[in-house]
């Protein structure tokens, strides 16, 4: 039982990070029909920004801030202006291909211009273990959970309690009507890209101490984001959060109780089951725009 709680907490912590990535992923899909196949690489990259700034002598907190700003510029603004905007007129498919190429590009760039070796990355809190109800829980897991929950709550408040957030939601649900009502649709779409960049940068700061900074990190993380978004529901922020948590917990539990060799396979089986039984995800609505 103790080990179960331990696994549950660390699973929830990883799951919360997956959820952040998946939320950004589904936000992009909702507002601009961008399926970002480079989402995993978007999480891999900010860690390298931060490491590069730290190598220049900055302390971690400053480097993290600069890293977030850099990813907002590169992965938010530049991604939107340089990659997505010229492609939108061709429809979904060429953009999918382009983001696949982008994922390859970012991976290679991190390898060629930084290092092909895994780099250590500073943790948010010193790693010690706490005893909770007899189970040993690492402070790192708790810190990750705290940051992720804060981020999700902040995002929720932004999307539901502010005028800006409601405009963004309106844009996602019906761009034409939103435009008629005087919402600057283009700007709202841009904001979701910037928001996604912030989310992946936070996810990067949380996950990299666990995974180390490697150029291949994106492969696993991107996959996790897709799976979480589909399992939870592609068109729902809540769905992506639920999907991420399920995935993280399931991944941890199945590795220990079922088979560590096939650890990667269980989420995929869940995916296939979800697609067969509830194609629009656990919390998703059937899409209104099907063609």
């Amino acid at each position: 039982m103790e080990s179960f709680i331990q696994l549950l907490v660390s699973g929830l912590a990883t799951g919360a990070i997956y959820a952040l990535i998946a939320v950004g992923f589904s936000l992009l899909w909702q507002t601009s029909h961008t399926i970002n196949f480079a989402q995993g690489e978007f999480v891999m990259l900010p860690a390298f920004f931060i490491l590069a700034v730290m190598n220049a002598g900055a302390p971690f907190w400053l480097a993290a801030l600069i890293g977030i700003v850099l990813s907002v510029i590169v992965l938010g603004l530049l991604f939107k202006v340089v990659i997505v905007d010229p492609m939108l007129k061709y429809g979904v498919l060429p953009l999918v291909i382009s983001t696949i190429a982008l994922s390859l590009f970012l991976k290679e760039a991190a390898k060629d211009f930084y290092s092909s070796q895994a780099q250590p990355f500073p943790t948010l809190v010193p790693a010690t273990d706490l005893a909770v109800f007899g189970a040993v829980v690492s402070t790192q897991s708790l810190a990750v959970l705290a940051v992720a929950i804060t981020t999700v709550v902040a995002l929720h408040l932004l999307l539901h309690k502010t005028r800006l957030g409601r405009s963004m939601q309106a844009t996602a649900q019906n761009p034409t009507l939103a435009k008629i009502l005087g919402i600057q649709v283009e700007r709202m779409v841009l904001y979701t890209f910037l928001l996604n960049a912030v989310l992946v940068a936070i996810a990067s700061i949380l996950i990299t101490p666990i995974y180390l900074a490697k150029f291949t990190n994106g492969e696993v993380l991107g996959m996790a984001a897709f799976l979480a978004a589909i399992i939870g529901g592609f068109n729902q922020v809540r769905g992506a959060i639920l999907g991420g948590l399920i995935l993280g917990v399931l991944d941890n539990l199945s590795a220990v109780y079922l088979s560590s060799q096939y650890r990667g396979a269980f989420p995929l089986l869940i995916l296939i089951a979800v697609i067969l039984l509830r194609p629009h995800g656990l919390l998703g609505r059937a899409e209104e725009r099907t063609v």
Binding site: I35, I83, P86, M87, Y90, G91, V92, L93, P94, L95, V96, I97, S98, I100, A101, L102, L104, F105, E108, A109, K111, D112, E219, M223, F226, L227, I230, Q261, Y262, G264, A265, L268, L271, I272, I275, L276, P279, E287, T290, V291
Partner: protein, 325 residues
């Protein structure tokens, strides 16, 4: 096809036949690899170019085909039987995989096939009793067909080239048959095809299954070409590469995969001088191409020749969605 196209095709065929006599062993290996990858890319082009679905499983099907042939021939089965088994097995798996994915929504196939490729990799790596795990399978013999031993690099190249000619002619014939016209209708205007009474979902599934089967057959040639197979060769990277080949050549163009595979095989050799930066450059080129000419190199050729002659557009068979006037 117009006269210019026929001349280009004839010239390309002559080059393909004559080239190996001027090449050394490694060069012959490269063009054999081109022939094999082209077959896999033709299969993917059916799914992507005609049915408009992104599949990231083609590399996995190549892997399934390669392992099928390696295991069966080492168990003493004759190569042609193993070859047919590889194709049939991939057809069946493609059908089973495509069925749930295509039943629901577009774009789902991309994710399901992504998951499938990872699953296949895990099975190949973990089921050591069958696949010998990470150590792979060694010493796969090249077949002797009707007394013709394809053991030498040159002979095996001609075997691959022959299979490429045969399979692409079959695909061409299939696309020309009344039944295959449905694929074209699917690409040109899926909604209209649906309203004309075509069961688009079934045809999309069929395109995917046939494409998977071609992937399996490419794998059946890959195993004796390389003579050593291991799970990593068939991981997600190969599927991405095949996808980019189809796109770079021009998806929906019959000869797109031929061009795309050629670029994918030759570019790493020609850009050796850039050392590690080859993939970086390749990825950047693909992105630039998608922004300016999403219909690929053949689409670019078509666009240039159209601008030069300023005549009627190319015949509808070779048109790509999104570029219609």
């Amino acid at each position: 096809m117009n006269r210019f196209g026929a001349i280009a095709l004839g010239a390309a065929a002559i080059v393909a036949i004559v080239a190996p006599f001027f090449l050394r062993r490694y060069g012959i290996y490269l063009i054999s690899m081109w022939a094999v990858l082209t077959i896999a890319a033709i299969g993917l082009n059916l799914t992507l170019g005609y049915a408009g679905q992104v599949s990231l499983a083609q590399g996995a099907f190549v892997g399934i085909g390669a392992y099928t042939v390696a295991l069966l021939t080492q168990a003493g089965w004759p190569y042609p039987v193993a070859f047919v088994c590889a194709g049939a097995l991939c057809f069946a798996i493609g059908w089973l995989l495509g069925y749930p994915a295509l039943r629901v929504q577009h774009h789902y196939l991309a994710f399901v096939t992504l998951a499938f490729t990872t699953l296949v990799f895990l099975v190949l790596r973990n089921e050591e009793w069958l696949t010998n795990g990470i150590y792979g399978i060694n010493g796969i013999d090249r077949p002797v067909l009707f007394g013709w031993s394809t053991g030498s690099a040159l002979d095996f190249y001609f075997f691959c080239l022959g299979m490429l000619a045969f399979l692409s002619a079959t695909t061409w014939w299939m696309l020309r048959s009344p039944w295959g016209r449905a694929f074209l209708a699917l690409r040109e205007n899926p909604i209209r095809a649906l309203s004309l009474g075509l069961d688009t979902r079934r045809y999309t599934l069929m395109a995917f299954a046939i494409g998977s089967s071609l992937g399996g057959m490419a794998g059946a040639l890959y195993a004796p070409l390389v003579q050593f197979i291991e799970p990593n060769s068939f991981a997600l990277g190969l599927s991405f590469n095949l996808l980019l080949m189809v796109i770079v050549g021009g998806s929906g163009f019959f000869f797109g995969p031929f061009v795309g595979a050629l670029v994918a095989v030759l570019l790493p050799e020609w850009t050796r001088f850039t050392e590690g930066y080859y993939l970086l450059i390749y990825a950047a080129l693909v992105m630039v191409m998608m922004a300016f000419c999403p219909s690929g190199l053949l689409g670019l050729v078509g666009r240039v020749s159209k601008a030069m002659t300023r005549r009627a557009p190319s015949p509808p068979l070779l048109r790509v969605e999104g570029t219609d006037p």
